[in-house]
């Protein structure tokens, strides 16, 4: 029998599959359809220090083999989140990763400190948010800003921190090295790639926000390449994501070097996708005589 468990920055997961932030709420909404406790970990929707209203609608649009979103990080704020969403997750037998967003370093720090004495297992820091103080370019698009926020968060965090990289950069390995050097415990990638869709009949943008983040199978080859580049560049573990929809996709990311994988947009196409992927990896390992994921992780590196 294959052992699907992994150890990532000291945290044991029963299997390498989590769900991508923003595509699974905090699991509550999927609870009636799937057994959330089957997941290796649940990564929650991004949460900020205070409630955010997000962007105007339309917030999503479909594109070939994928979608675009500009939700604008709507969230109920950390207080409600701790009381309601974490309470739900404590009742599940799965690791809890809280995704954190903010408009300034102090926003992030506030959330991280509020989570210090909770039973959250890991923190994922979404640095694709615009750094309002620095003219709005995302923290994750500038290696110095990324290193700085990584350091600040790491100094306060009681849990291992996962820095979630933006793919909208010239060199993803440069960003990965910046985060690793600044103390990140884990890297996750990729966040969405900025895209645009125009409704030619209405002569306007498909999304009210004009641009949105592209996700889904259409970005998978780009995500695999970036995960591979990052795994070659750093020593800390990597959570790979971007277009994973089948167990074969998950294995592809693991072979590129990822320790764990995250299922995002595929949840929208099939709420059972993450469970099917876990089952698929197990069957694959059994049929190929693979007893531990260590045997295939990064085989192509």
């Amino acid at each position: 029998m294959a052992d699907l468990s992994i150890n990532i920055a000291g945290v044991e997961w029963k299997n390498p599959v989590t769900v991508a932030s923003g595509t699974f709420g905090s699991g509550m909404e999927y609870d009636e359809m799937i057994d959330v406790s089957r997941l290796g970990a649940v990564t929650t929707k991004g949460v900020a220090n205070v409630p955010w209203a997000g962007n105007p609608v339309p917030r999503v649009a479909e594109v070939k083999s994928g979608m675009m979103n500009a939700i604008g990080l709507q969230n109920p704020g950390i207080d409600t989140f701790i009381k309601r969403d974490l309470e739900f997750l404590y009742g599940k037998d799965t690791r809890i990763i809280v995704n954190v967003c903010g408009k300034s370093e102090s926003d992030y720090i506030e959330v991280v400190e509020r989570l210090a004495d909770t039973d959250v297992d890991m923190l994922e820091i979404n640095v694709s948010c615009p750094n309002v103080k620095e003219g709005g370019i995302a923290f994750g698009q500038d290696p110095k800003a990324l290193a700085h926020i990584t350091e600040e968060v790491k100094n306060r965090a009681k849990q291992p921190i996962i820095m979630k990289l933006s793919p909208n950069v010239t060199s993803i390995s440069e960003m990965a090295i910046a985060a690793e050097s600044a103390g990140a415990d884990v890297l996750s990638l990729i966040n969405t790639i900025t895209g645009m869709k125009i409704d030619i009949e209405r002569k306007t943008f498909a999304l009210a926000n004009r641009t949105g983040g592209v996700s889904g199978p259409c970005i998978k080859p780009i995500a695999v390449r970036m995960v591979y580049e990052v795994c070659k560049a750093v020593k800390i573990p990597v959570i790979g994501m971007g277009g994973i929809a089948t167990w074969e996709d998950a294995v592809e990311f693991i072979m590129a070097g990822a320790t764990a994988v995250s299922v995002g947009t595929a949840n929208f196409h099939d709420p059972e996708a993450s469970i099917k992927i876990i089952d698929g990896i197990e069957k694959y390992m059994d049929s190929h005589g693979i007893s531990s994921l260590d045997e295939i992780r990064g085989v192509v590196l």
Binding site: M33, A53, V57, P76, F268, H269
Partner: protein, 260 residues
Amino acid sequence: MAKVIRECKVVSTDKLASDVFSLLLDAKDIVSTAVPGQFVSVYSNSADRMLPRPISICDTDKSAGTLRLVYRVVGAGTKEFSELKQGDTVRVLGPIGNGYTLEGNSAILFGGGIGIPPMVKLAKALHENGMSRENLHVVLGFRDESFLLDEFSDIATVHISSDMGTIGMKGNAVQLAEAENLVADVIYACGPKPMLRAVKNFAEARDIKAYLSLEERMACGVGACLACVCESKDVDDHSKVHNKRVCVDGPVFTADEVVL
């Protein structure tokens, strides 16, 4: 009212107007708990279309276990559904959303365009609840061609309008209700946003409670992604901001809780 995902067999298909189609699905587990005003998410069989299409429950036959969907072909997804043949299968998630609250002794049902289908199951439910034909007003606004009329004629008083005047009064459903001076205990509406705004005004002017079914672009269809929000008058208890999710907090809202 648990949502379930099922691979549903196509029992039959029908063309109701030049671009309006009816799909009868074998969907026992979905219809068993469905109430009027709820919808389902229909997934494409084409690998390049990832997002489900939300389609209102038009009607259900609980004993036969069948679900009826009526939809207009507007893009690639609905085009694909229109090409389904008997025996094909399609993946469906549902039932989703809150549905209409049945109340009052008389009602006006406003259906605009492709907002008409959910009025079928609603009218039938009100009828089964004992609402008389005279008290059950169904006001329909078509673009040009009519469809589903027969579903209402035995149980409700039907009023018809169309944009071009090709059938019924020339104008929209709310103008027709005004012209006919309709009143009732409660109003139910589904249709395009301009129509819903007019229904809201119509209801407020007459101090009638109104339930409006909203539409918005969706991704998850289960309340998780926050794609499908509408503006709420008050801070919403779930979101902690002035946003409600159309998919699970709606699609039906009272006219006074949302900003249109």
